[in-house]
Symmetry: C2
Subunit: 338 residues, 2 copies
């Protein structure tokens, strides 16, 4: 709740609104927590996820993933009841959307502001102009969307933000529309995001060990933890094996001085977990997590004890769960893949 | 079906029976395919999975993961209707199982035959003898189980197999019970597994690109493929972005001469896929797969085209799906995480 409040306040200070990315928590119940901070729009990473949140009452949703023509039927269905935005980055996508989507949607032009994953090179004004000019009543231009994913690898986040704003504002001045911006490192670390119209970050609701490493948050801010039973202590090699593997945490790892980290172990408390790291998940297989610990810590653990694992990447770890429990023990539902 | 037949025949030649690991496909329907080859016992990697297959009619199941006392209630429930085996590797686990499991189960002693993940050092005869001697009518000694996971990293698979057999047979001769053995590389690559009583491999049902790299199978043997829509061709950097990311393929990668491979792209055909690799999934994020391809291949692809991705690790990719489709287009159900 504190994480949501902080981002909602930052949006206010920056004269922007918050359209949080719900790809981190995947849960209608957690989505509802945002409403009490005035949030009424959200972002989804897939058409299925947009459908799930539309069914849960969200009526202003952006699917922040390039338009997939094969899902035009579901897109049209969502657009019947919600203001839905899709992402366009080619004339072909625009043509197909106009042909296949039957209910009005908005579109954002995806601009590559340096991540080089998707998006149009901002210097390609000819293509951008063509897409804007082909805006129709059915597939209507709304603005420019950028994701500065290179903030995950580059320390100078202020500079990336300023460069991104310069690029996106030039386009906005020329073609109109709004600016949607949203990587978690810059939205977390910068105090003022003025220039952005819409903040689209999502990971901040849970954060994770990767974001601690980047500097987006402190360990105390991490809002999700995997309860993992100790099944095999191996003090002879300073390891305990827990039930908590790739199907629970994902195989996302960060490199820490040449050592891999798939998550950090902490002690559980009565209604949550402690903030002291007591072990490193150094290896992971389908169901096993191999946690490196000092011998004293291991000597206090026995088979059947529960420890907590703070995930390296909460979005992927959360995707792998069927549900959550709150620190009060209430079951929290999320999307089911069926 | 050919993959199942081949392993069933190898079991016959080796005078062993097949207790396939169902952690690869997670599907009662696919489990049923094994029955026509005479398979009546299976392996699960979690208590939930064992419950799912017990509910689907399997009445002889081994949970090939160290006994987790916190799941004793469900273990007891499964044991009411099925012959269930659990894994024990410490006196503490054995004591807890005898205390907490209410219906009779068998137990295998997990021996570390070189993987150094879980299991007892085979030279620790004192502990092994203690566990065997504490066998009870409720938690009954069945034999020794080993997983030669180091076959994934070592080329001399024949030697690993011979060393493992020597170790396990010495224990069998001394203490009785059977030998359960099961990594996919050795079970696939060796023609004769004589000495093993029970073959526990699982990945062979689907195989994957990792197993192709190890030499366990050919690309033609891979039995699962992710249909992935092209959403953003980027010929300027020899890449296409597909809808197929970490939540579909997992983030398992193999290293190929310094390049990461999260899967291999192939062309789809009318009722399956072709066996020529047309691209490498070099990067992956939550929903995006970045596929490197030559410019000619890209020039023939457009937004909305489907390509196939052969996963690097089929067990994890399959875990992420809600269901499959057969090459005839029939929906195949699997475990749902709820």
């Amino acid at each position: 709740m504190r994480n949501i409040l902080r981002m909602a306040e930052k949006a206010k200070v920056s004269n922007a609104y918050l359209r949080p990315h719900f790809k981190t928590h995947h849960s209608a119940e957690i989505g509802d927590w945002f409403r009490q901070y005035g949030v009424s729009k959200c972002t989804a990473s897939s058409v299925d996820m947009a459908k799930y949140f539309a069914d849960a009452g969200w009526n202003d949703i952006t699917i922040a993933f390039p338009y997939n023509p094969l899902e035009s039927e579901v897109i049209s269905e969502i657009a019947q009841s919600a203001n839905l935005n899709i992402l366009i980055e080619s004339e072909e996508s625009q043509r197909l959307a106009n042909e296949l989507v039957t209910d009005p949607v908005g579109f954002f032009i995806k601009i590559d502001i340096g991540t080089h994953r998707t998006g149009i090179d901002p210097s390609n004004l000819e293509l951008i102009e063509s897409l804007v000019s082909e805006s129709t009543d059915k597939v209507t231009f709304k603005g420019f969307i950028g994701h500065a994913g290179h903030t995950y690898y580059t320390p100078d986040i202020q500079k990336i933000f300023e460069d991104s704003m310069k690029t996106l504002q030039e386009l906005k001045n020329k073609f109109g529309g709004i600016i949607s911006y949203g990587d978690s490192p810059s939205c977390s670390m910068l105090d003022d995001l003025s220039g952005v119209d819409e903040i689209r970050a999502g990971n901040f609701v849970f954060y994770d060990w990767m974001q601690v490493g980047i500097g987006s948050c402190k360990i105390e801010d991490i809002g999700v933890c995997l309860a993992s039973p100790v099944v095999a202590p191996h003090p002879e090699r300073n390891e305990v094996v827990v039930y908590g593997g790739g199907v629970h945490l994902s195989k996302e790892a960060v490199d820490e001085n040449g050592k891999k980290c798939f998550g950090k172990a902490v002690r559980l408390s009565d209604n949550g977990w402690e903030h002291e790291v007591i072990g490193n998940v150094k290896k992971i297989s389908q169901e096993h997590g191999i946690v490196e610990m000092d011998s004293e810590t291991i000597s206090n653990l026995k088979v059947g004890d529960l420890i907590g694992i703070l995930p390296t990447h909460s979005c992927l770890a959360a995707d792998l769960q069927g549900h959550y429990y709150s620190t009060e023990g209430e079951k929290i539902q999320k999307i089911i893949k069926d």
